[in-house]
Symmetry: C2
Subunit: 413 residues, 2 copies
């Protein structure tokens, strides 16, 4: 099996200015080709350190995919350093230079002179067109080693990878890895791992547990000569895990709980509406991350203030006064209210204290109530994460509210 390393280039990553999402994207994609990723490395825009990192990566691996540092500015050195290490000469491509000029023309801007740096290509190397920016990608193959150079911005890198790099790497793709992820909620990672302790000893497929923002996941990964064979190794193990973990499992290979919920709503031809306090838009944002969600989702109200909870959702002022905004009663009235005003089949609501500050009462940060009203069923759950982590609390509240919808729809005849 061919072995690959991913080399990210950019001082802005080492300074923490930007999050490295490219390495993750490429890892997921390379696995589909049956190419093992054994290391991610990030170095800054520094000639010596980049050259050293590339040199040692090539000693260990068949393929190195470098991203970033192809921009028009003087600190963008990846192109030059990779060609130097691999022993390729550079020349200016008139064709690419014209393409860059045309790109700026089409946007109605004048091309800054510095953009011509991006028109230099390796003699004897391959050039990958950039349909979403100006820097082309490059491919260098020599003595059985392969270096692929891609632009840093994810919206330029990902389409280029799909179109050009997948076929470019075909000769290295001599087997297949198939992975399936069983996703659970409510149960914790340790408890889940205990229930599957014997399976974690498996060699092929391997079974690995991990925790992720309020979820516990088991990843089943098989390697084989073909995708079909690898798939066949996975199936019985995934089934065994599902039967052991029961209703904690919300999906297998669902990208997320929101994807699972949109899928179920479409299947049952039902619609959902959301009423949110602390999550404030996070749930509809997640639902509409799924293309085509408009057939099952039409309306959300963010009622961050009590006034809006009353005015737009019909939560009674007496309820807010007697129990407070963060209470079972308010959550239930929000869910019923959004169902009524939107005309959707199912209304869900969240009200809670996400932190860092409390809400001025004695209620703890991390406390939330989530409710569902589907006409034929009303449910409310209390959540106490015990954590003062605003993003975590908001995310988990949203997931758990969507999980109420998932359970309701799965049980509905």
């Amino acid at each position: 099996m061919s072995v690959c390393e991913i080399l990210s280039v950019g001082t802005e990553i080492l300074l923490g200015d930007i999050l490295n999402t490219n390495s993750r994207y490429l890892s997921l994609e390379l696995a589909k080709l049956g190419i093992s990723v054994l290391r991610h490395t990030t170095v800054g825009d520094n000639h010596e350190r980049l050259a050293a990192a590339l040199t040692t990566a090539l000693e260990r691996s068949d393929i190195v995919i470098a991203t970033g540092g192809l921009g028009p500015t003087a600190d963008d050195i990846t192109r030059d350093v990779c060609c130097e290490v691999m022993g390729f000469e550079m020349r200016m491509s008139e064709e690419i230079a014209d393409g860059i000029k045309a790109y700026f023309d089409s946007k109605g801007y004048e091309m800054p002179e510095s953009n011509l740096r991006q028109a230099y290509v390796p003699v004897g190397g391959d050039v990958f067109e950039n349909h979403n920016g100006t820097a082309p990608g490059l491919g260098l193959k020599k003595n059985g080693k392969c270096v692929v150079i891609l632009p840093g911005p994810p919206y330029e890198m990902a389409p280029m990878y799909k179109e050009y790099v997948v076929p470019y790497l075909a000769e290295y793709s001599d087997g297949a890895i198939v992975s399936h992820t069983v996703r659970t909620m409510v149960i914790g990672e340790s408890a889940m791992a205990e229930l599957c302790a014997d399976l974690l000893e498996n060699e092929n497929p391997t079974v690995a547990p991990y925790a992720k923002k309020g979820e516990a996941l088991l990843r089943v990964t098989a390697k084989a000569q073909s995708e079909a064979e690898a798939e066949k190794l996975c199936v019985p193990v995934v089934e065994e895990i599902k039967s052991r973990l029961g209703n904690y499992v919300y999906g297998v290979d669902s990208e997320s709980i929101e994807e699972r919920v949109v899928e179920l709503l479409k299947e049952k031809k039902m619609t959902l509406a959301t009423a949110e306090s602390c999550t404030a838009g996070y749930i509809p944002k997640r639902i509409t991350d799924i293309p085509g969600a408009s057939s099952v989702f039409g309306c959300g109200v963010v009622s961050y203030s009590n006034e809006i909870k009353h005015k737009m959702l019909g939560v009674k002022n007496e309820t807010l006064e007697a129990y407070g905004a963060v209470s079972e009663q308010t959550a239930r009235e929000m869910a019923a209210g959004i169902r009524r005003v939107s005309g959707a089949d199912i209304g869900i609501s969240v009200t809670g204290i996400a932190g860092p500050g409390s809400d001025g009462t004695s209620k703890p940060v991390g406390l939330s109530y989530i409710a569902l009203d589907a006409g034929d069923r009303q449910v409310c759950e209390k959540i106490e994460t015990g954590r003062n982590d605003r993003e975590y609390n908001r995310y988990v509240n949203g997931s758990r509210a969507l999980n109420l919808v998932r359970i309701y729809l799965e049980e509905k005849k």
Copy 2:
């Protein structure tokens, strides 16, 4: 200046299952201590490769911070491998074992036996308590080299870093790096860099441009013996950049446009409400990422369907029929409508085609209209990103709508 490398451990990162956010967090924090981060490395849960990566990292650097692989399961080997490479013996700590048991008791769960792996500590090393999970962190110092081992989940890692690791690294913190980021919108990266071309040649402070989801940024970074001296080096350069880039600049060191808008709303004592179609909750989600946003934001409506645009925001059916949902007229009526129904001072709206599919008309993916209604001013802008990238389009639409609020508030007397 001391030099550090960050070593992430976890096959789930190399498979692409999880995004490595810890390296970014630690990079930002280490810069504050004046410790240079020269490399990020990720390796899998593999004894040999982890040992090799740690050994070479220690040859190049004073400090290595390893995260991940401290869990309770058999593939969690970081603790053992780091102690082996640094030459520390391990022993079981009864005290930590009792603490882990108490943690499970407090949550009402029984402790899985495997969790006791987390109670092993290095003889002569330091132990960092985990207040948000069961795995303690570890510190190993020997022969001028330092290895810090932290748990992988960010909500365990970050508080532990702040409480224990910052003082633990004090002896390595012999200078300071100060960075400021000038953030712009509407102008592109190349054009921005051209306007500041001479500054990009600076050595201290360095000035580096980069692009980020519809924004162009310039990072000014100075190194000096003290924070105050480094700050002094930055100030004139930041001022020069601001005067060259004018109104494109929406903030310096604002974490984001939403942070800037919340700050301005508080300053002017005004409130904002949102009406969204394609962004569907993304704008209020971003606004309420900022703790304390409740004093300036109380209401948002996600009107994903035309029915809801009419029913809840009062967009005229004739407007929707004549011009369509994605039109200047609809955007303007949505902004006016949300301002009216919410009672907020300023209403903003977004309606557009985020992709991947079109809306069934001949309008292109990437087309959006954003509008602002503040009573004394109404504005509408057309955006054409030219990209079929749902997340990008939704994010940029939100940013540009918030930018309308920023400009309105900055100009308001």
